[in-house]
């Protein structure tokens, strides 16, 4: 039994019925880092999707912004237990980017500048569930939060929303990415509290 610290209440830990189990609301936007923050110039930036046939589709910064951009409001849930409700983002839907991609594979490995990877089933990226996001809360996305562009997949724990996204590679198996190899769950559904394996 620990000693209660007089006058200490900790960071705001609002509970809320809209939250998945074990989460609390935060007003901050904490950063979970696993390594140094890469700095990428939009002049050099590129996003690609590679299929099992070796075919690659690419978009540079201008080409990405020529595609339909959506403004979305979503809740996000980090595996480190903080959640933010009603966050606003602008980005291109993965449905748009996958429109002309021909693949029989069911899994995707997301690759980031700086070497980070995370794996997802393809169906979790489609049907309005995911975006390549370039703006957050009305501003350009900060490098600290994954700018110039990050993957945004709000229905899964936020480590799946790969920062500094660089490309997606189709996989036939659900091969684990960085955090998945290091202890986090392969799928990561916050509503089932799939934090670790």
């Amino acid at each position: 039994m620990s000693v209660i610290s007089r006058g200490f209440f900790g960071r705001s830990r609002e509970q809320n019925p809209d939250l998945p189990p074990g989460q609390y609301l935060t007003r901050d936007f904490p950063v979970l880092s696993a390594g140094p923050t890469p700095i990428i110039d939009t002049a050099d930036w590129e996003f690609s999707i590679r299929t099992e046939s070796g075919e690659v589709q690419r978009w540079d910064w201008q080409q990405l912004h020529a595609l339909p951009l959506e403004d979305v409001t979503v809740d996000i849930h980090c595996v480190t237990r903080w959640s933010k409700l009603g966050t606003t983002w602008r980005g291109v839907s993965l449905d748009t980017l996958f429109a002309n991609v021909d693949s029989d594979n069911e899994f995707v490995m997301a690759h980031s500048y700086g070497g980070y990877t995370t794996n997802l089933p393809l169906e979790d990226l489609l049907d309005g569930k995911a975006w390549i996001a370039t703006r957050f809360d009305g501003d350009d996305l900060d490098p600290e939060h994954g700018g110039p562009a990050r993957l945004l997949v709000p229905h899964l724990y936020f480590w799946k929303s790969a920062k500094w996204i660089r490309g997606l590679v189709m996989h036939s198996d659900d091969d684990p990415g960085f955090w998945e190899q290091n202890g986090y769950h392969l799928y990561g559904d916050p509503w089932l509290e799939q934090r670790y394996w």
Binding site: M1, S2, V3, I4, G7, F8, F9, G10
Partner: protein
């Protein structure tokens, strides 16, 4: 009953330090003393059982159950604002330690020692200075203390008093005292070359402060020819 190596200390003294900091003296029954440079973990528990744990360097060294910490208030922090603004004499604080057997100086070391601190990075270096003084060590000690301005110094009075075997160089990055010869700027390789114990004397070097400061200093030292294995760093995070 507190388990897992945690001890309960009582606050016996508090003292404002720097512009947003505080020195805190604790009496901790069961504390086994510490070597200069070590730190402790402090744990706070909210009424609903929520806990937060943070590490703080010890400003004191030696035996006994009395220890001194110095904490700088990080504006968006969860623990430091509580320790600097709220904690009172008579309050209890759970601590674990002493911790860290690497970033330490022991009085039986005889080689020259170069201490380089940025802001609150002075804290473990202060423990080394006090340990050096208490042991009447004849090892040469030099301190290079980098600060935004004079008022940002921790232990200012203690450091401005002459201490045998210790040479202190102050370096200001934003606001200098009137008539100060060196214009305000961040620490450079030239500063290190001019003020630090030369490479040829094989000093042990301890660098402590914000991560960006420590990395810039460590890189410069290596470029000046210091052996990386003789440089020990303690990064406080931040930039």
């Amino acid at each position: 009953m507190v388990t897992g190596g945690w001890m309960v200390g009582t606050v016996v003294e508090v003292r404002a330090e720097a512009t947003s900091g505080r020195a805190i003296v604790l009496e901790v029954p069961g504390w086994g003393g510490n070597i200069a440079g070590q730190h402790l973990d402090a744990r706070l528990t909210a009424p609903d059982g929520y806990q937060a744990v943070r590490s703080y360097s010890l400003a004191s060294a030696g035996e006994g159950e009395r220890l001194e910490l110095a904490v700088d208030r990080f504006p968006h922090g969860e623990v430091s604002p509580y320790l600097v603004d709220e904690l009172r004499i008579g309050d209890e604080l759970e601590v674990r330690g002493p911790l860290g057997g690497w970033f330490v100086w022991r009085p039986d070391q005889t080689e020259p020692v170069q201490l380089i601190g940025g802001g609150s990075g002075i804290v473990p270096l202060m423990a080394m200075i006090r340990s050096h003084r208490a042991a009447r060590s004849t090892a040469e000690f030099r301190l290079l203390y980098s600060l935004r301005g004079e008022e940002d110094a921790f232990f200012r009075e203690e450091l401005t008093q002459p201490s045998p075997g210790l040479a202190v160089t102050w370096l200001f990055t934003r606001r200098t005292p009137t008539g100060w010869p060196r214009p305000a700027s961040r620490i450079t390789a030239a500063d290190l070359e001019a003020e630090a114990i030369p490479v040829g004397r094989s000093p042990s070097v301890f660098v402590c402060g914000p991560t960006g400061f420590v990395e810039a200093v460590a890189t410069n030292l290596v470029e000046l020819g210091h052996d990386p294995h003789r440089i020990k760093t303690e990064r406080f995070g931040g930039s």
